[in-house]
């Protein structure tokens, strides 16, 4: 029973240990996968936030400029349009009022009127090749020296004339680099970059976009480092002004790029992040989680080990105690058995002995007869003789001298028999009858011993002492039991009794 509990405890401990180890692997493995997923999701969310906010800033700036130009042109008067000087003055006021880099109006001959200059815009501004009368606001760029560009936010005009020419548009020109620098990240760690690109992948700004240099075409660079099918999607999304994510690896350094169109511009806002940045953050958390989970499992494992060790030790201790108890119980049982046996022996002794005379009892004689009968029945060659003795005159002594004298008379008779048959058991088989079973030396000397007994009896008879009439018979081969021998000895004893009565009474 106890062994079964121990075995169960050990198997249970092993199963729990395996379960814990499995859980540890599952949790740590799961943590790694979760980390990757978290990195992806956080990167996506992070990039969308970054790009969305910056895109909003650009859109807000454009909306503000459009609104300012609309207000300005609503406020222009005939006096403002009376001469080039008055127009320049008006333009100067608007620039100052709205803190604009450059505000200009364009007439139908593509002559551009600015605060300080009047120049031909046809070859300089792409938007002048458009039919502005049919369009809303136009967002365009103009190349400057050194490859820099400026943003032109254009609104078409109608109903205004200057120097006999219709004014077709006005525009605000903003330094794209100033805007880009305002939107750029504090990029000390070189892990997050912002960019604005034309839909053909050409950079609008003079900013590096991570590993993509400022003068490089983003789509051309991407084509070299991403699979063709992914590049096709990227290219299509750029051309169609669709937002999306893409993973780009530069020199085995994985980056995630998010791109989204900037409203009404035809440009793409791009944000690139080195996955290291997010990974460092998330992995820090994950590593801590894994570390603590590991500690948790180690502590749990140790605790369980201790638990089952304690269980095992306790079980063994209880087993020992039980064993001790069983030993004690067994010992007590043995003691009790021993005592019982002893008591039985005493009882047997009491039962086998005649208390008055000290010779064997009638019970002992019966036991002896059973033993001999069993031997005869088994076919053993058993040689023995039975001597029967009957005490004469006992009733007379009891009646005359009392039972105490009678008892003494019996004791004397028993002592005579025991003295003659000193190697054989003597039994008191009745009130005044005795028997002796002769075997061994007494059997071989039975005749001499009987002669000696008879001599003693005769002498006792002469001295007034105990007189015992005896008869002896040997077991004959045809005798099948002791009783047959006994009967012959008993008949001989009666014959002798008669003889004794005849000679002494």
């Amino acid at each position: 029973m106890k062994r079964s509990i121990q075995l169960t405890a050990v198997i249970g401990a092993l199963l729990l240990a395996i379960l814990l180890a499995g859980l540890a692997l599952w949790v740590t493995g799961g943590a790694a996968v979760s980390t990757e997923q978290a990195v992806d999701r956080l990167s996506d969310f992070y990039l969308q936030e970054l790009a969305g906010r910056r895109s909003q800033v650009v859109s807000s700036m454009i909306d503000t400029n459009i609104e300012q130009m609309q207000r300005a042109m609503n406020a222009v008067t005939e006096d403002d349009l009376a001469s080039e000087a008055s127009l320049r003055s008006f333009i100067g006021k608007i620039e100052t009022l709205y803190d604009l880099d450059l505000f200009a109006v364009v007439d139908e001959a593509d002559v551009v009127y600015c605060r300080y200059a009047t120049y031909m815009g046809g070859s300089r501004y792409d938007f002048l090749s458009m039919d502005l009368s049919r369009s809303g606001p136009v967002i365009s760029t103009v190349h400057q020296y050194g490859g820099t560009k400026k943003i032109c936010i254009v609104i078409p005009l109608s109903g205004l004339t200057f120097m006999d020419r219709e004014l077709k548009a006005c525009f605000v020109q903003t330094d794209i680099e100033e805007l880009a620098e305002m939107l750029a990240f504090d990029n000390d760690q070189n892990e997050t970059w912002f960019g604005m690109y034309y839909r053909n992948g050409e950079n609008l700004t003079h900013l590096d976009f991570g590993p993509v240099g400022k003068g490089q075409n983003l789509l051309e660079i991407a084509k070299e480092v991403i699979p063709e099918d992914e590049w096709t999607v990227l290219n299509e999304n750029f051309r169609n002004g669709m937002q999306g994510f893409i993973e780009i690896s530069f020199d085995a350094d994985k980056h995630i790029m998010y791109y989204t169109p900037i409203r009404d511009t035809g440009w793409m806002m791009t944000v690139l992040i080195s996955e290291r940045l997010i990974q460092d953050q998330v992995r820090g958390i994950s590593d801590e989680l894994i570390r603590r989970t590991t500690i948790q499992f180690i502590i749990s494992g140790l605790a369980l080990t201790l638990y089952f060790l304690a269980l095992l030790l306790e079980s063994r201790r209880e087993s020992r105690i039980l064993l001790e108890k069983e030993k004690e119980h067994s010992k007590a049982s043995r003691e009790r058995a021993r005592r019982s046996e002893s008591e039985l022996g005493v009882m047997k002794g009491i039962a086998n002995k005649d208390p008055l005379t000290g010779v064997q009892s009638k019970y002992a004689y019966t036991e002896k007869v059973k033993e001999l009968d069993q031997m005869i029945l088994s076919g053993d060659d058993v040689s023995f003789a039975v001597v029967i003795g009957d005490l004469n005159g006992l009733k007379r002594i009891n009646d005359t001298f009392g039972h105490a004298a009678g008892d003494e008379y019996l004791k004397e008779a028993a002592a005579v028999l025991c003295e003659i048959y000193e190697h054989s058991p003597v039994y008191r088989v009745g009130g005044d009858e005795f028997a002796a079973v002769l075997q061994g030396v007494d059997y071989r000397n039975r005749s001499v011993l009987l002669e000696r007994l008879n001599t003693q009896i005769e002498e006792n008879a002469r001295n007034g002492r105990a007189v015992i009439a005896t008869g002896m018979a040997e077991r004959l081969p045809e005798d099948q039991n002791v009783l047959a021998v006994f009967d012959r000895a008993d008949r001989l004893m009666y014959e002798r009794k008669q003889e004794l009565k005849a000679s002494h009474v």
Partner: protein, 384 residues
Amino acid sequence: MRRYVKLVSLLIAAVFLSVNGYARDTRTVKAASVLQGDADEAASAADETAPAADGAVSDADGADASKAQSFAVNFERVLDSYQPKKNHYNFFFTYKNVHAWWDAVALGIEEAQRQYLARGITVTYEYLAPKAASVFAQERFLRQGENGDYDVIGVDVADESISMILDELSDEGHKVMTFSSSDAAEGCKRIAYVGNTHNYEDGARITEALCEKLGYQGKIAVLIGTQGAPCHEERAQGARAVIAKYEDMKIVDVGYDQDSVDRAYKMTEKFLKRFDDLAGIVCCNMSNPVGAVRALTDMNRNDVVVVGMDHDQEALQYVRDGKIYCLGVQDCFSIGFDTIQVAVRIADGVQPGDLYPEKTEEDTTLIYQDEAGKMLEILYGEVR
């Protein structure tokens, strides 16, 4: 034994609860901090105002350094130490025709104007041209200048015949200068010229390079821009002079594209139809080489060697790609910048001499394939 079991069970539960609780809290805090950091940073970016206005331009001591020429085009120009006599100047400039080349000149003019403004000197100007080059159109613009109140009238001469009008304007008391690519005729009363003074040499240099490339043999065609435009014609003369030196070379055809890429394309097609064994084309203006290479590419005639002028982005890409052998790139930016500096002096009544030359010469640099990428980056920020 029950005591042991309870104790260990409590211990395990405590470990689980504490670890998971910590991890959840840490995740929340750190993820939030990442986003919060970005939100702050983005908000900060949105709140930022535009950078301060441009700082002061270098002082007079930096003037000498301003002449330090960067590669082919110097964008780092700084006004020299001349102290203008007035606080306001008003100029009238007219040039041959509306074209990107003069937009590049305009950038130099705008930079000088900006630097003067930073010094508290206002420079206003007209910078006008007809859509197509013509003597009549230029005269019309000059009459516009004549009627205005301008300190100086500047002209990029479309045709030498314009010189007569310039003399007329000078006689009327207008201060007249020439600038950009073409000077007036010899003896014109204009005060000074700023720009390319070596168009003939430029034509000769690109043609010499072509001849060397062809091993001094083969049939050559010459593409010219505007008929009568001194700069274009002088370059063509330079080309003719060089070709004439070599017995095995011959100019077989000449065409004018009127500063139109499409016309240059058609002229090139015509050359090749007439002379299937044409070996090279000398291009004398900005539109010539672009139209020529487009036509050659479409006709699959990459064997024809092309040399040309100016800094058109497409033409520079052809140089980089080996489709044009070389280009003569003028420093348009400096032409514009120096035009304003000279115009201010002229307006102040300063005659050519110690303070400025009668002809301010601007450099032309031959750009070959190995330098085209650098040029594209300098001019257009284009990097491969």
